[in-house]
Amino acid sequence: MRRVVITGSGTINALGHDVPKTLEAMREGHCGIGLLDIRDVDRLAIKIGGQVTNFDEHTHFNRQQISLFDRFTQFTILAAAQAIHEAGLTFLGALADRSGVVLGTSGGGLNTQDESYRAVYEEGKNRVHPLIVPKLMNNAAASHVSMQYNLRGPSFTVATACASSNHAMGQAFMLIRSGMADVMVTGGSEAMLCFGGVKAWEGLRVMSKDACRPFSANRNGMVQGEGAGVFVFEDREHAMKRGAVILAEVAGFSMSSDASNIVTPSTEGAARAIAGALRDANLNCEDVGYINAHGTGTAANDKTECAAVKNVFKAHAEKLMISSTKSMHGHLIGGTGAVELLACIMALRDGIIAPTIGYEKPDPECALDVVPNIAREAKVIATLSNAFAFGGLNAVIALKSA
């Protein structure tokens, strides 16, 4: 089987509009969560989120592009441009045919849907913009990236709620590993911070009104975020031959299904995905120094996840570090695993472990080293990134240092 490496990375999220700014914010334990600035926010019970601020679509896109690019596509295109630029690749000829795009999203063009429903139902209009369908479809972002960069190989979109981007990156990894593609642009994007997007989440009564405090005994729920994370995955030999800078190796991937409940997570299902990723990457428990947790800040996820980590890692669970960067950028739903993979790369490359901020009170059910509040320096050779979705669909990625 071929080995797969990461040669490019890009992002836009509440912590920053690129990778250096995002990593700097993670190092400093900066919180990107604040008051939402969206239409009709006064009618919401939940008024906070990890919103992308200082963002004007007109500075990045022309009128014609804006009529086709929902906010989730805009985020994707900006992050993909950074990643492909960093990788230094141009897709021509045979390479173009052996390169593709696999992206995750849960809501797709949700802002477009929200605005269009508002137009027909609230404002009573009988006409909507003619390009609504290609703008809101979940594969719009993947398609626009393929068109912009001439990626003519396997491309598609994966939707598994909060695990979408981990599942997407797993597919990209397997496509290269198996020899079906040489380069894959992959990651995920979400732009759910609109009235309907937040209103729907309110109903589940799992949202915090004040902060995301993963693993803290006084945690009271999740906080939504938005943005994108995009990477260039590449056949290792291909990358070495052209002298590319390798950010990390994608060492393994695993998926599992709880097959039990549509919202309640299962320790057993999560543990199977974690153990599967270790096995696939040929790693021993002791090799893993850092786990980027799913860590949503809900009562159910955090204790289930800690129990799963303990079950798999046994004594080593006490020694490894596990943090949830959702405390800083919020939960990007279908894009979250992609932004969180950046924390794993930072751990491997820079030896800096992103903290879990907002941590106030130990919870005996989450008694692991959650790197509370302050980033830490540590040498790490392998990391995991967890994602456990509603619907019980789990996806865990293992990275090794280059």
């Binding site: 109903g203 589940l204 009564r205 799992v206 945690r219 729920g221 549509i262 919202v263």
Partner: protein, 85 residues
């Protein structure tokens, strides 16, 4: 219709039972209502009484809305309805 009868009706519908089978001392667990059934019941209560129920599934004891039993839910709804008028 009084609040007790209405709340019992909502809970019974969620539990797929006849209202006469729902007792004041029953817990939601007794009735087979899980976390999803709970948020659906709260939604139905909010709609029926035009009130806002302060309930966070991450912190059930953090609000005054006591879900220990059918009786405690009725009492909590009575308080909310009273506060509203």
């Amino acid at each position: 219709m009084n609040i007790t009868v209405q709340v019992i009706g909502i809970v019974a519908q969620q539990a797929l039972l006849q209202p006469s089978d729902v007792k004041i001392e029953h817990t939601l667990e007794d009735l087979g209502i899980d976390s999803l059934g709970l948020v659906e019941s709260i939604f139905a209560i909010e709609e029926a009484f035009d009130i806002t129920v302060p309930f966070n599934a991450n912190d059930p004891s953090g609000s005054d809305f006591d879900i220990t039993s059918v009786g405690s839910i009725i009492k909590a709804v009575q308080t909310l309805v009273q506060d509203q008028t």
